[in-house]
Symmetry: D3
Subunit: 290 residues, 6 copies
Amino acid sequence: MEKFYKSIESIANTVGELESVNESCFLKNNRDNTLIPDRKEVIKVIKDLQSLLFPNYFKHSEGSENVLSQTELLLNIYSRLSVQIKGAYAFGGTPMSKTPEEICDTFVKKLPYVKEMLIKDIEALYEGDPAAKCREEVLICYPGFYAISIYRVAHELYILGVPLIPRIMTEFAHEKTGIDIHAGATVGEYFFIDHGTGIVIGETTTIGRHVKIYQGVTLGAKSFEVDENGNPVKNIKRHPDIGNNVVIYANATILGGNTKIGDNCIIGGNTWLTHSVEAGSTIYYSEKNK
Amino acid sequence: MEKFYKSIESIANTVGELESVNESCFLKNNRDNTLIPDRKEVIKVIKDLQSLLFPNYFKHSEGSENVLSQTELLLNIYSRLSVQIKGAYAFGGTPMSKTPEEICDTFVKKLPYVKEMLIKDIEALYEGDPAAKCREEVLICYPGFYAISIYRVAHELYILGVPLIPRIMTEFAHEKTGIDIHAGATVGEYFFIDHGTGIVIGETTTIGRHVKIYQGVTLGAKSFEVDENGNPVKNIKRHPDIGNNVVIYANATILGGNTKIGDNCIIGGNTWLTHSVEAGSTIYYSEKNK
Amino acid sequence: MEKFYKSIESIANTVGELESVNESCFLKNNRDNTLIPDRKEVIKVIKDLQSLLFPNYFKHSEGSENVLSQTELLLNIYSRLSVQIKGAYAFGGTPMSKTPEEICDTFVKKLPYVKEMLIKDIEALYEGDPAAKCREEVLICYPGFYAISIYRVAHELYILGVPLIPRIMTEFAHEKTGIDIHAGATVGEYFFIDHGTGIVIGETTTIGRHVKIYQGVTLGAKSFEVDENGNPVKNIKRHPDIGNNVVIYANATILGGNTKIGDNCIIGGNTWLTHSVEAGSTIYYSEKNK
Amino acid sequence: MEKFYKSIESIANTVGELESVNESCFLKNNRDNTLIPDRKEVIKVIKDLQSLLFPNYFKHSEGSENVLSQTELLLNIYSRLSVQIKGAYAFGGTPMSKTPEEICDTFVKKLPYVKEMLIKDIEALYEGDPAAKCREEVLICYPGFYAISIYRVAHELYILGVPLIPRIMTEFAHEKTGIDIHAGATVGEYFFIDHGTGIVIGETTTIGRHVKIYQGVTLGAKSFEVDENGNPVKNIKRHPDIGNNVVIYANATILGGNTKIGDNCIIGGNTWLTHSVEAGSTIYYSEKNK
Amino acid sequence: MEKFYKSIESIANTVGELESVNESCFLKNNRDNTLIPDRKEVIKVIKDLQSLLFPNYFKHSEGSENVLSQTELLLNIYSRLSVQIKGAYAFGGTPMSKTPEEICDTFVKKLPYVKEMLIKDIEALYEGDPAAKCREEVLICYPGFYAISIYRVAHELYILGVPLIPRIMTEFAHEKTGIDIHAGATVGEYFFIDHGTGIVIGETTTIGRHVKIYQGVTLGAKSFEVDENGNPVKNIKRHPDIGNNVVIYANATILGGNTKIGDNCIIGGNTWLTHSVEAGSTIYYSEKNK
Amino acid sequence: MEKFYKSIESIANTVGELESVNESCFLKNNRDNTLIPDRKEVIKVIKDLQSLLFPNYFKHSEGSENVLSQTELLLNIYSRLSVQIKGAYAFGGTPMSKTPEEICDTFVKKLPYVKEMLIKDIEALYEGDPAAKCREEVLICYPGFYAISIYRVAHELYILGVPLIPRIMTEFAHEKTGIDIHAGATVGEYFFIDHGTGIVIGETTTIGRHVKIYQGVTLGAKSFEVDENGNPVKNIKRHPDIGNNVVIYANATILGGNTKIGDNCIIGGNTWLTHSVEAGSTIYYSEKNK
């Protein structure tokens, strides 16, 4: 019994210490946790959006099963997303000029466009992969399509200026597929990703039409400009531009905000590129044997 | 209130537009969604198969907890898998000559063989990794074993000609472990994968006995033959053959249907190989410092 | 009906065969499965620990929602973790000299220190990534922080000698983020991981202060010493030492127990290193165009 | 093993026999069970209606928790109730002249009236029971109010001619409270039920304003008229009429379609009445001691 | 903080005291709670049996949803019921001569007979109640049928000598419907119960064919014979015998093991009977007005 | 589409009307629903208290399954109950002089006494019912014991002056068993209830030791004193006093605050009593036949 008390005492002390660490901490001490965007809820919203776009292939999230019609589902998404956006506003750098509902109104109107883009992506995946037996297989199984479908939705929220929520969405895609497309990247139609694990596409990347990217490819920043305090300068172009009809094979790394890959290039696997490449080039990596 | 109606109107319009996109779409307009294989259900089946093979180490899927005996569990798997296979038939390229039940009869009889193979894989992982303290650790924690155990089950369905289901299974393994072994690949006994994130093993790969593969390795296609329409030719050998007792270190890339790695080779990390290598070779990658 | 019986018979036979495989197997035939650590339960414990450390940003695991105070939560974690540690003892190489409760007492007292370390990691991530708009974003979205937060907790259990449990915890982080930090590695303060998919950090690695590591980096073993039976020798230094203020870019591979990267080095992406590098060096990888 | 097969055989035989019983049965052999009203779903609808009427005191049903606004909730109820009414149509005696949606339109418009009636019932319960400390207690705890709130909703569906659904609703109230008010009964404002277990109020009963009824009271049928086949004649007045300001104490039984209890009567406990009683009467039951 | 410790101390003391009460208690101190029949599990079994008997009208219990065929369902019930019976054996007065599996074999073979009996009960309820619009309504809504369907199943287990389980089943019916039919009672075909709340039918009651019973009726024991220690003598006839074609109206009470109600009697509501009644009698209760 | 809008409009109008009913209502317009006691949570607390008192026979409520030790369980109950009591304070007639924590401290200390009382009740039920085969059967199956176990806990909160919570607890027992014992009643040791459906025991009732009560018994109020406004006077003695060793058979009704039933009386079934009865009397009800 003595021992039991000592454990309790130790535990209560530890909790006290943990709280005092908390107080000395640099976070906004948000005690009212209703204002913090809820990661689980944002994930439910993105799942319900996938279900809205392709109702036979994606299921409603748990808790939305008894929403019967598509109109109800979208109404439901609309309200829940508004709440999350409201929560996110506290974390944005600059004050927002629009209400969460105005953001959602505009966002909702973009969904048919998003669906059209995604149908083109399915086409690109089906035609580009010899292993795909039918288009439905792409919808049901392909992690590349899963990640793109979330990216295209999140991107629309990103360009409306919504903080944090688009990132939570693309991080969810990252967790499920190992594919990390920043919601700020600009990606043209007929985008093809195969296998995909380890792909990183940075915030200021632009990608043209009919581009194919394989697993392990990084489209990243070369080095960061730092300000007078040694901190990275934010909001500048840091990632490459990829033209149309480019193929980038597995584990290639392309870095830098001034790096431009011209149309119709082929970038071989495991290559490392920090300068621009003219249209029509083929870059490959030579091997050596012992 | 005015505003509320405008939102409702906008939402109902959007749903209408989404449905008209749907109608213009190239998918078989499958309204009766009972015929589409259910990804969640296939995942439950594969989890229950893992539990059947190693009952003390893998738990039943949610919803199967009150199936008490192993015979019941297998009966249960048998019926649920038959339903999913039936659904998958609509998505296969060619009509199937066997009923789902006949497929399942044959499949079920292969399970003891699968278990024997997996026990050999456990042995290989235990002996090959200095960090493994006991064989049970491999069963409980190793993502490599998790992925192989799903691959070996899915492969049996693949060679029985079942469409879509084997791919859904291996994509689940991919999602959980970052290891993407196509169900069509042929993999010999005592297979060893460590860490594993980013591994890609293509559909027509063959791998011998006692092979070790580390994270980020790709056994892929070099380029695709295209037909007269510029589409990739399907169903041809596109991925390499790996001999017995080969070790392939992290991030190596081996490509092409005619690429053969002979027995007892060691392929160094980050290497890039598109041609064959004789038995007994060591290929490594030389580094340069500035 | 005939057919139905044949299926049942086949199924019952298969179960019999599966069990006879089981009997011939090399595993300790643990029939009493209460003694095997429960992966799901360990994952709930690590989630509850995250929630204890940062209550506004991580939710309680399912089933712990109605634990009201922090003291109760920690009491609850304490008991559940003790049970799992007890189960793990059967799988350790050597008998333990302390009771699970004594282990937990010591572990609990380390939590405030873990929290201080994690706050420094948040600072490093916020300052090091131009895309981070506020520190809370790091806590909510960054897979790098998610993986480090689990590693730092698991490491405390590892150094207390607990078998299996720390590995289950870091494998959970691996599954969620693609980042595989062995609980045995030693990592200094202000650790920065971005994107992270495919990172592997081996058991005997040491990492200094203010180190930045990008996706696909391996800090691994070069080759294993084998004993007279050809099995790898366990418990020896196999992985590199990384100094302070080092940056290691994407897909670099650094191998070997005698490999030391000195302070203030920059290791370029896709490099391959198996020897030591002096302090202040920059190693990069030169590209070639066709 | 022999024994196991015999059990399986016995079980399969039993299932065969059960199915052959089924075929000889007088039920419409409904194989397509989507047409049968779903008791669980009807119960969820009635719970959501209670939550709509008194949002702070009744919770949403499971599965409707993330419906955010009252308008959404009512839209949701509207669609789900329509589906159930459609299913019920197959079980009604006569074909329906209105669509389920038309029924629901009318029903929904009656809800504010239902709420007004229920507020009057709360008032009656609060004022009539010395044990009630505040009106909220009536809403939260009183089984009498629980049963009345379901009855008043179900009654509106009954008078719109909906088969089966109103009965499922009032049977749910019966199960929860032991109070069985047929949805066809007509009940005036300020209705008071205390304790309530065992109360039965038949289909053709009418009850005036400000009536109080205690546990175990039956307002039932005396005997049934039978037709030429000896079956009870349906759709005739079978149950009593109760005037205004009547009090009926515990376990009283009042039977018959021609039995009228005038205004301001008091009917003592355990009494048995099969004839009419003039306004202003007090009926009591005399006791005898041995 | 002081206060907090005092609460903890008080709580720990209370738990200690509760345990010491436990030790002084007369219960078999069953520490191994796997041997105690699990009420929740027995309820799931009875729900699954209802679903087996009338698959379109009763749903599977939670956790059995993915059992697909009727044969599987019955296999599943068979194993789970065996486990519960095994647990119950410890609580029976006398050692059992049959194994739980032998009991289940016999029980399962009785199910088609039970279904035939229940179809006759449905017929009786449909024909006897003017409010019933179709036979399906009886299956879906009538508490009387719900209670009888559980009683008839439980009775078969009772006559096989199973302790405790039949009682748990009929108490579940009691909880849901307020109708308490002891599993030991013998009830003939075409049994009719309307409303039903408060009905009690004792263990040694016998009831003939075509009997109708209304709410609040007790068929009970008059007084108990006591043995030399003043304890009631168990296992003797204590409850009445009811003939064929008898009607017993609401709240009638019939008591005693020697009380026999002859065929074709009508027993009026609220009557009290402790002696036998000749066939063809009508017993009623006279009322008095002030 | 037109029709769809009309439905939406109708629904939105209805919600508006419902809200305007709300505003005109006499309830405290409690917008902040955290202050209203949560019926579901109170029910979980009472279930956990039953589990604390008899851990092998009652299960933890959903959500408390992973609370491991009895001390933790009680700590957990303590905090959750404090929250509910705090919410209840707003609904009490008079301001409370003690904090919820002080109430809970006192309450917790009474639990061992409650357990001792309940063990005596089990003894009374086992000895009094010839159908009980062992004491454990009483704990597992008897609704009478279920109701008493909740009453005895709720009564301790009632005498500490907690509003609303004790009533929610006993209404839960009422719902499950049909037995309605007001938490304010005073009940002596060795209390026996059999069958129980329809029993009502009023707030100011007192009951001695070794009393047996059967189904349908009412111990109620005769009539209420009304104040100058015609409202019932609250807080006066309204219900009878029952002596020691009294037996009250089924459906008896005993009314009035001045009615005293002396020790050792037997009150026959269906009797109606509004005056006192001397010790040792037997009251029965004579029957008449036509």
